[in-house]
């Protein structure tokens, strides 16, 4: 069953000089529950824009989008907000942590909007999630006291804490060293696997891309599915292992 279905989705913006910038052109995409998708593409090709549309943060200029079987136009703003909170876990490219709030408070934020049990147990859940990303000792540090990689892990913990059905990760390992990056990706993979969530990862790292089951490339707003992971240069160790 497809959780997300995009058909001929475009997104364009009017630039101050009066011209029109087409960021996405005719994007078709279907993502099923439990899918693991990677999207690669050059800087400025529209990856973040696509991810924002998938997560109901942005809206297509034209085309259709179905979220969990419901056409986008049938979801009113409040319903969109609630669905986003319940079903989508965002890992932003720029982290978007709330400044001056501790790691724990940041991770608790999505649970503030959760009903019932999750709300009342927010501190426990957030602490557990931070422990899973290896930040159990930094619960009370604010973003400005954390390194870039640590901030990214806080952002990841925050995305996963409500157990979303769709995890959208915009370069989740961009600020991490290879080893931590691999660990975090494994965690993302595990959580997605355990909860049956769909995971969509944007990455520049071929090794990270290789962990996905389906691979896409975005080129100047045009999305194409790649048959096989394309690795630049000689195969790296992790992917060689994966191939075995």
């Amino acid at each position: 069953m497809s959780f997300l279905r995009l058909e001929q989705v475009t997104r364009s913006v009017d630039l101050p000089d009066g011209s029109r910038l087409e960021i996405l052109r005719g994007v078709d995409l279907e993502v099923a529950v439990g899918d693991h998708v990677s999207i690669v593409g050059r800087s400025g090709s529209g990856k973040s824009t696509l991810l924002n549309i998938l997560g109901l943060i942005d809206t297509p200029t034209s085309g259709t989008l179905e979220f969990d079987g419901i056409p986008l136009e049938r979801l009113r703003m409040g319903a969109r907000d609630r669905r986003r909170g319940r079903d989508v876990g965002f890992i932003f490219q720029q982290f978007n942590l709330l400044p001056r709030r501790t790691a724990l408070e940041n991770v608790m934020t999505p649970l503030l909007y959760a009903p019932g049990r999750q709300f009342w147990r927010r501190e426990r859940l957030a602490t557990e999630m931070l422990e899973r990303v290896g930040l159990g000792a930094r619960l009370h540090s604010t973003p400005d006291q954390l390194s870039g990689g640590e901030q990214q892990r806080v952002a990841i913990a925050r995305a996963l804490v409500r157990g979303p059905r769709l995890i959208l990760a915009d370069e989740p390992t961009g600020a991490l060293d290879v080893e931590t990056g691999a660990r975090v990706m494994t965690l993302l993979d595990e959580v997605a696997e355990a909860t049956g969530a769909a995971l969509i990862t944007i990455t520049h790292d071929p090794n990270i891309a290789a962990m996905a089951r389906r691979h896409f490339r975005l080129d100047a707003g045009v999305l194409t599915e790649l048959g096989q992971p394309v690795l630049a240069g000689p195969p790296a160790a992790p992917s060689a292992e994966a191939a075995l």
Partner: protein, 410 residues
């Protein structure tokens, strides 16, 4: 259930916001608190200052509406003898239910002091005089009805005169010897009023009640030849009509050849408008200005931080906060915070205006201390809360209107 967690969640969130932004919040709230306190204190202080002036005027000209009545002969212009007017006035006062009226006659007493006999000017009045003029006593008390029946007449003297006789304790019933051509009359000092500050020992004055004064034979001339004025304190609503009737009745009773003149003497006599209106308006203007400044400070801080708040609202919304929820949180945060700040401001104002030092000091100067300006406090509180709502409205409206993606881009 969802509603409940939503409500608790909003409170948790707003509280968290207040904690994180405590410096900004504190700064803006101090502004609000100070503004409300200042507003209330200014209004209270203004009311007190006005009351001080009013009471001073009233000590001189009587409380609104005080009327003076005299009767003259049309031919000679000489004033009618009090003994002819008194019964008419008494009957009329009885009929119209006028409780406060007094005869006023000026005379002088020759008083024996340690270093000789001195002239003391005496105001001969009736008991209600003190109520009409807010007469205040430094020591002792004003005449009572029983003083009329005393053997030795009671006298209330000025503090200068009291000092001349050695400032005796009134409980020892100090006396004065009044020298008349026939004999020496002993009068008992039952009260002391304050002499005007600039007289420096020279204010030798006294008050006595009309009947004991006459009975003791203290008048320097036959009392009917003394000029006596009649004074009435009338309810302002009916004062015009009542005073006209009084003068008509007095003139009628005196008969042909006499006319009665009545005029108003209190501070409201000359203008129908409140003579302190300008002062009150000025105070009100200052108060409004103070409040506006406080509001401006709050709105200013809200504007400066709105960008940064919108971004945070975007982040919250990407994690499931609905626009309505953010609106509620933001509004609650700023309204509750400013209301609390306003309340603290009112408490500060109460502490300033109603503390024992101030009230003691006021009691010494005023008879009717104006009540705490509850209306100013309420207006200040309401205005503070309104301004808080206004300052919160901007980010709150943005939360409702803006698209999440645009909020995140800020």
């Amino acid at each position: 259930m969802n509603l409940w967690t939503g409500l608790v969640g909003s409170i948790v969130e707003a509280w968290g916001e207040l904690r994180v932004h405590r410096t900004r919040v504190l700064l803006s709230l101090i502004g609000v608190g100070v503004a409300v306190a200042a507003l209330t204190v200014v209004v209270a202080g203004g009311a007190i200052a006005t009351q001080v002036q009013i009471e001073q005027s009233e000590r001189w000209g009587g409380r609104p509406a005080t009327y003076q009545l005299n009767a003259y002969s049309m031919e000679t212009g000489e004033s009618a003898p009090a003994s002819r007017i008194s019964p008419v006035v008494e009957a009329a006062a009885e009929r119209y239910g006028i409780r406060y009226w007094s005869r006023m006659t000026g005379d002088s007493l020759r008083v024996q002091l340690s270093d000789g006999v001195y002239h003391v000017s005496v105001q001969v009045v009736d008991q209600p005089y003190a109520a009409i003029h807010r007469t205040r006593l430094l020591h002792g008390s004003w005449f009572t009805e029983r003083d009329a029946a005393r053997l030795a007449p009671a006298v209330i003297i000025s503090s200068d005169l009291w000092a001349r006789i050695g400032s005796p304790d009134l409980r020892t019933h100090p006396t004065l010897e009044v020298v008349t051509p026939e004999r020496t009359v002993v009068v008992v000092v039952t009260g002391v009023i304050e002499s005007p500050p600039e007289t420096e020992g020279g204010d030798l004055t006294a008050f006595m009640l009309t009947d004991p004064f006459a009975a003791a034979g203290l008048a320097t001339t036959p009392s009917d030849q003394l000029f006596t004025q009649f004074e009435f304190w009338l309810p302002p609503e009916v004062a015009d009509e009542l005073s006209a009737r009084l003068s008509a009745e007095v003139a009628g009773a005196l008969g042909e050849g006499w006319f009665a003149d009545v005029y108003r003497s209190d501070y409201l006599a000359y203008s129908g408008e409140d003579p302190f209106l300008v002062q009150k308006l000025a105070i009100g203007g200052v108060a409004v200005l103070v409040l506006l400044l406080g509001a401006l400070g709050l709105v200013n801080i809200a504007l400066v931080t709105v960008r940064h708040r919108i971004r945070e609202i975007g982040i919250r919304r990407s994690f499931g906060a609905t626009a309505g929820r953010v609106f509620f949180s933001v509004m609650m945060e700023s309204v509750v915070a400013t209301a609390v700040a306003g309340a603290v401001g009112v408490l500060i104002a109460v502490a300033l205006v109603k503390n024992p030092w101030v009230t003691e000091w006021l009691d010494a100067y005023l008879q009717d201390v104006p009540p705490f300006p509850v209306d100013a406090a309420v207006i200040g509180l309401a205005a503070a809360t309104g301004v808080g709502a206004l300052a919160g409205l901007l980010p709150a409206l943005v939360a409702v209107r803006v698209k999440v993606i645009d909020a995140l881009r800020l």
